[in-house]
């Protein structure tokens, strides 16, 4: 009962179900790609002559603005998919599928971890498709970068998925989710180094904004991906992303624990 084999089997079943749902919902992949590709083809192309990017690590030469934003847009795919996964958790809870999952004879944290890994797998599929399309548009990472970026993508996706998991534990109803997303996705994305280097914000004398960007874990995820794509390890970013992911996952596990968590304080049942 609840041995390693059972846990792995159940985890694989959860991942397989989420993958199958993703394949069935073809529009999800399209919408996941449209967003970053619009940024890349319209925003970045339009602004590449306005925003000059000087030589900053990890770049060893001048890069075009489109190349600069590529890691940030990859992280954007992870961010949106992490939140989409938590949205599907809230949906599952409203539809009762979550109740089926949470009454499985397995440790609660393991079930949540399996959901998290399922979200990471979907994120990776979307990011690599995005990077492939970007390459076709002549916006590329170094050839080895497609491999070296993988561990950073996994870690960043785990962190963003764990934040989404925590959100799903605190948001009761589907209709509240869109509002909450506006307070999470957009500040996280815009207060980061995804679209512009942080020193530019500091140079613009927007010091409080600069520090907000610096402490934003999404900034660290972007930098982790950017450095990894050029075969380098960003130590601070690695520590912040791993620490934030672990903390968010532990808090989410506590929140989903019926003996201690937020669901235990759920609103009264109807009958």
């Amino acid at each position: 009962m609840s041995g390693i084999g059972h846990r792995l089997d159940a985890g694989l079943a959860i991942i397989r179900r989420d993958l199958r749902r993703f394949i069935l919902q073809r529009s999800r992949l399209v919408s996941a790609l449209v967003r970053p590709l619009l940024w890349l083809m319209v925003f970045a192309a339009g602004f590449q002559n306005v925003f000059g990017v000087s030589i900053i690590p990890p770049y060893q030469t001048y890069v075009t603005y489109q190349v600069y934003v590529l890691p940030g847009l990859a992280a954007m795919v992870l961010l949106f998919n992490g939140m989409q996964s938590s949205l599907s958790l809230v949906y599952d809870r409203e539809m009762g599928m979550m109740r089926l999952l949470l009454t499985a004879p397995l440790p609660r944290w393991w079930l949540l971890f399996a959901k998290l890994v399922a979200g990471v797998v979907l994120s990776l599929v979307q990011v690599y498709v995005f990077l492939g399309v970007a390459a076709l548009l002549d916006v590329r990472l170094p050839w080895f970068g497609y491999l070296t970026v993988l561990p950073a993508l996994i870690l960043a996706a785990l962190m963003l998925g764990a934040v989404g998991l925590l959100l799903s534990a605190t948001i009761r109803q589907l209709e509240n989710f869109a509002g909450a997303m506006n307070f999470v996705i957009f500040p996280m994305f815009f207060l980061s180094s995804a679209l512009y280097p942080l020193w530019k914000i500091g140079e613009a004398a927007a010091v409080p904004v600069y520090y907000l960007c610096l402490v934003n874990p999404f900034t660290q995820a972007v930098e982790l991906i950017r450095f990894a794509a050029y075969g380098r390890v960003a130590g601070t970013a690695l520590a912040v992303v791993a620490g934030t992911g672990l903390a968010a996952f532990l808090l989410a596990s506590l929140a989903y624990d019926p003996q201690r968590g937020l669901l235990g304080r759920a609103r009264p049942a109807a009958a």
Partner: protein, 259 residues
Amino acid sequence: MGVGDLVTLPRRNAGAGVLNATGVSRHYGTRQALAGVDLTVGPGEIVALLGPNGAGKTTLFRIIEGLIPADGGEVRVAGFDVAAAPIAALSALGIVFQETTLDLDLSVFDNLAYYAALRGVPRLRRKTSIRQALSRLGLTDRARAKARELSGGLRRRVELARALIGDPALLLLDEPSDALDPASRLALRAEIDRLRHLTGCGVLWATHLVEEVGNADRVVILDEGRVVATGAPADVVAASGRATLTEAFLALTGKGGRP
């Protein structure tokens, strides 16, 4: 012991019924949803949990399922304390939820396979176990159908088949016939009666539809979080001084005047 704690083997209280709830209470803020509820279900026994909306049936079910904790009292499933050994207790449970919990985009077989993996049915036994469950409910020819293509009554039968996977000691039915037409209700009732004889599992059936619990061995009537009557249906009717179980139910829950 926490949910994930596997170090200490859960202690089993042997010799008890498949469900033993003792003095279970639960508050939501200042409102008392359950106040010292006692309830037992024996092996092969059908116990109907009757109560009007808001009586506390779903709260009691959520406590038995380990989804929310009780404020007081104890719930044991197959001898395992739900709070202290939730994994062992959940292993002995098969549940049909009030709302449909099938993945509508998956086939009947895939829905059951997903559940079997969650339950820990070994890979080698999984297909046999699913086929047996489908056969028991007469669903073999529907195995490849998408859940979305099934009628409400058929979906319920699939959920019943799913709940039987892993041979649970206790079947929890949370108002399973709410959205069904009268013919499907009758069919469901007959299926459950047949299955308890076939598998020997205890059944706790929550409902507010009094007419569908005639074949229960015992009824427990819950009102405002308290057990107001318990016993064989005929005994409850006799004790209430009314002619039918419906009248007894209405009288005991204050909806039909006191006898």
